[in-house]
């Protein structure tokens, strides 16, 4: 009995390149070509179709970072370059997503320190980077330009553009040939609208990743899941304004009641499972990059993504 899991779709997801190797003018050890699917990622039998990537989120000022991560990682969280290196060498992440939380202090103005932090992280890890810049319109422009300039040639993914504030980040991405994250609040139409705004100021389709905004499991995940499915299907039906790969980060996972109030001995485990189940389901809905904060989730997701398609011994054990 024949079946076609492309459902008559004609579109394909565009590709976004993250990270440049020496051959391409960067210093990364690998360059990811994200996207390219013609159906949902985990339905694609083609061995060349991309496996979802796992990014570990870190920050340069852990004051407001989850205490669960601070307990698990210890002093590491105070040295951002060491943290980035460990993400690659110990935790096995595909990408590092650096939140420049230092820029979120009141009256922050030390733009030069942003450049230094980024330089240190770039030399500590050879993984492609995602950089989350300022959260404050007053300094957006300087922070993003500094990041863009410092990492020129590295093909960063810069975050995060929203409908109300995307010009500074787009300017930095355009000036230094980086890609950017376009986030909209769980809605296929708003996602499309933002992509059109970005296109109108010159950001190319192959330099945008969609962040549909991911509510964690139990806290709106179902909305995000359906928004992701709808974005993906619109793309596969031929809407090029939505035909970008997606990035998903359920940042609430570590602060929700179930995790926060878990018995201390169970707290890491709860945090990891919460991130894991959210990440797997998001991948099934189309997300190409899954961001997590607990180091143990990284390994678990990577093992799962490798096994989901090959499965190796899935039937043997029964």
């Amino acid at each position: 009995m024949g079946y076609d899991l492309h459902f008559g779709w004609t579109g394909a997801i565009g590709r976004v390149i993250l990270g440049a190797t020496r051959a391409d003018g960067g210093t990364r050890k690998i360059s990811y070509h994200i996207g390219g699917e013609t159906t949902l990622p985990l339905l694609d039998k083609d061995p060349l179709s991309p496996t979802p990537l796992v990014a570990l989120e870190i920050c340069d000022n852990p004051e407001y970072w989850s205490p669960i991560i601070k307990n698990f990682c210890g002093d590491l969280v105070n040295t951002v370059d060491e943290w980035a290196k460990t993400a690659e060498t110990v935790y096995g992440a595909d990408l590092v997503r650096l939140y420049l939380t230092s820029t979120r202090q009141r009256n922050f103005s030390d733009i030069a320190s942003v450049g230094k932090t980024l330089e240190a992280v770039l030399s500590a890890t050879a993984l492609p980077l995602i950089i989350e810049g300022s959260n404050e319109p007053r300094i957006d422009s300087e922070v993003f330009l500094k990041c863009g300039e410092t990492a020129q040639g590295e093909k960063l993914l810069l975050g995060t553009a929203e409908a109300g504030r995307y010009r500074s980040i787009a300017a930095a991405a355009l000036a230094y040939n980086h890609s950017l994250i376009a986030q909209s609040p769980i809605d296929v139409n708003l996602a499309k609208q933002l992509n059109i705004l970005l296109r109108e100021i010159g950001v190319q389709r192959d330099h945008i990743m969609i962040d549909p905004y991911t509510g964690t499991l139990g806290y709106g995940f179902e909305y995000s899941y359906s928004a992701m499915e709808r974005i993906r299907f619109s793309a596969l039906k031929g809407d090029t304004d939505l035909a970008m790969p997606m990035i998903c980060s359920a940042i609430d996972s570590l602060t929700i009641k179930e995790v926060r109030e878990a018995e201390p001995a169970l707290q890491d485990e709860m945090a990891v499972r919460w991130e894991f189940y959210t990440g797997i389901a998001a991948a099934a809905a189309g997300a190409e990059i899954i961001c997590v904060r607990h180091p143990k989730t990284v390994g678990m997701l990577k093992l799962a993504f490798a096994g989901i398609r090959s499965g190796a011994d899935f039937t043997d054990v029964k």
Binding site: L5, G218, D252, T255, E269, R273, L303, G311, D313
Partner: protein
């Protein structure tokens, strides 16, 4: 090709006997046309009409009930590939697996856990659904003993797994009348398995790899008189499972392959892919999932994912408007305004609890809309805020007149100040930043 209600009506007896449960033959015909009723409910149809109607009018996926009594559950009767197309109706049963080679104490412990464990989210109790008992020993006696051990502790839906007809006989003498799901009929043994299923009127799992073999086996079982079927697609990997289950869902809802119109079974047992298989099974069309007992963390995550995916996307879940307390706020505690969309409420509440700053949440009635949509639709406006402050007597709860509003409602700040006479502070757009905001802005505001 689906028939219209009037075409169906012509084939019905037109007696309006009500024996199908509907008041008239016409209403029954309308239900059949919508795939919401089974043609077998009409006792007066001749076989020819039944066969004409059967394939095109029954729900694309047959409803199968497993177990009896309070904890029994039904799966199937799904109509869409994607929850946003309508909704998913029948959440998968997740059953913990035990083996007849385990010590009786272990079997009992697992059974009692499934019987008693539950956790409440958004007013709903989440539970696992039953016990799957595997005849790993191969011995009919051991199997019967294990089944009895489970049965002595709880009246839970069961899946009985064996390759041995004698073992089934021994087990079904004990529990056959409780409608356990029996696993599995294959191309080789389907006649014996169908005889067992018929004798005890149990639902039956059929197992084959490949859609043609599954469809053939399903037809063979129906010919043998067994229609309560569940399909084990014996996947080679979790990815293989979602590929085949997606294909089946697609083929049956478009009525291209009515022979595959049964719920799908998934055994998630695996040394390291178990959680991935469960998560994928939940989102991609598994109806009965069996797994070795899950750790407390996996258990909560799996049950929560199932609740999320099977929430009806057509109905936003709302909170009752009112003044809610986080911790034990004093008269000088901050008052934060937000909407009565439950998700917004729970997300903000979670972040507020973790700031450890006691405060009030003023929840206003936006009919379940989120902040962004409520502002856009004009549901969140200065009149609503003014009326809510009065209605919930906020002025007597606190000694100040400062209201923190969500970042996305910033355009309303001036109008709210005018209408209420309160000072308005615009909070962050993202609830995740509320801790930082309170520590910095609110504390500053106080000093």
């Amino acid at each position: 090709m689906a028939l219209k209600a009037l075409d169906i009506y012509k084939l019905l007896p037109k007696k309006n006997c009500k024996e199908c449960g509907d008041p008239t033959c016409l209403t029954f015909a309308m239900k059949l046309a919508g795939g919401k009723a089974d043609v077998d409910l009409c006792p007066y149809l001749d076989d020819q009409s039944k066969s004409v109607l059967g394939a095109t009018t029954r729900p694309p996926i047959r409803l199968i009930k497993i177990g009896v009594g309070e904890r029994s559950f039904a799966v199937g009767e799904e109509f869409v590939l994607y929850r946003h197309d309508k909704t998913f109706y029948h959440p998968p049963g997740i059953l913990f697996k035990v083996s007849d080679t385990q010590e009786p104490e272990e079997i009992t412990a697992t059974t009692i856990r499934v019987r008693d464990e539950s956790f409440t989210r958004i007013g709903t109790e989440l539970r696992f659904n039953g016990i799957a008992i595997e005849n790993a020993s191969g011995s009919p006696d051991a199997f019967a003993r294990a089944v009895t051990t489970v049965e002595e502790s709880a009246d839970l839906p069961l899946v009985l797994i064996s390759k041995n007809t004698d073992a089934f006989n021994a087990a079904l003498i004990q529990v056959g009348s409780y409608q356990p799901l029996i696993h599995a009929a294959t191309k080789q043994n389907f006649r014996e398995m169908c005889a067992l299923a018929k004798k005890h009127s149990c639902p039956l799992v059929i197992k084959a790899h490949g859609l043609d073999d599954l469809a053939g086996l399903a037809k063979d079982c129906v010919t043998e008189g067994v229609k309560k079927l569940v399909m084990d697609i014996s996947p080679q990997s979790p990815g293989d499972f979602i590929t085949i289950s997606t294909a089946i869902r697609q083929l049956v809802i478009t009525r291209q392959s009515p022979d595959l119109g049964y719920p799908v079974f998934l055994d998630a047992t695996h040394p390291h892919l178990q959680d991935a298989a469960i998560a994928l099974g939940i989102v991609k069309y598994a109806s009965v999932i069996i797994t070795p007992p899950l750790s407390p963390a996996s258990a909560k995550a799996a049950l929560t994912l199932r609740q999320n995916i099977y929430t009806d996307p057509q109905k936003p879940i709302q909170m009752n408007p009112g003044l809610y307390r986080v911790g034990t706020p004093g008269k000088d505690a901050p008052v934060l305004l937000t909407v009565n969309f439950s998700l917004t409420f729970f997300t903000l509440e979670g972040y507020l609890e973790s700031t450890r700053i006691p405060c009030f949440m003023l929840i206003v009635d936006t009919e379940g809309l989120s902040v962004l949509t409520a502002v856009a639709a004009g549901k969140l406006n200065e009149t609503l805020v003014r009326d809510s402050i009065r209605k919930f007597d906020v002025e007597h709860e606190v000694s100040h007149k400062t209201l923190i509003i969500p970042g996305y409602s910033a355009p309303l700040s001036g109008r709210i100040e005018e209408a209420t006479g309160w000072n308005v502070m615009v909070g962050p757009r993202d609830a995740a930043e509320i801790g930082e905001y309170l520590h910095e802005q609110w504390k500053n505001h106080e000093s």
